[in-house]
Symmetry: C2
Subunit: 130 residues, 2 copies
Amino acid sequence: MPNPTRATVLLAHGSSDPHWLQPFEQLLTGIRAGAAAQRVELAYMELARPALDEQIRALAAAGFTHIDMLPLFFAAGRHLRRDVPAQLAALQTELQAQGQPLQLQLHAPVGLEPEVAQAISHVVIRQLGQ
Amino acid sequence: MPNPTRATVLLAHGSSDPHWLQPFEQLLTGIRAGAAAQRVELAYMELARPALDEQIRALAAAGFTHIDMLPLFFAAGRHLRRDVPAQLAALQTELQAQGQPLQLQLHAPVGLEPEVAQAISHVVIRQLGQ
């Protein structure tokens, strides 16, 4: 059963180029279709909206108390290892101080999952043969 | 049969954080294992080495005349739609003027391939259920 207090934010890097955003919006649409009972949103780390803090504040205001962040990244660098955890910790402290109980959990980048890495390998090896 | 004058460069964004680079190096190792007869290299657009132009110059000097660039990106933004094509065009002109015949071809980001997008959706939907 889906937990009505739990939401997921797909976190992408962001770009000022609207072409860059489209594939992420398509992914969100596909994921929502496959998990209709869950609340899933998209947020960007920079250069596009909704920004991560904006999205988290909106979900907290809507009553969600546990928010999982799934980074749509191939790898974890400075942003995901330092900047985002610091931002989440500050936001959690701020919202808790305002009486909003909130658990924010940052997960590993989806690109590190074996299934995704294997799909990338397949696609590249197929293209090499052409 | 592999073409001895054709090489492939996997193009990643790059980061100053060595942790970020590791998954790309692992991908390269896996892809080379699956396509041993092909010349496959890795290059970064910024903040890490080998840089794209460095890698292309090395392959051209080694006798490769057709180099395919496969971007390890989820989407094509400003970098892949403007900066990289301009860089490749300038490099091709420069090397051709030096008597090095060179065809550089930039392909679509691997993240746009249905197989990769589907793997990402699977992974996310599986994590939503936990």
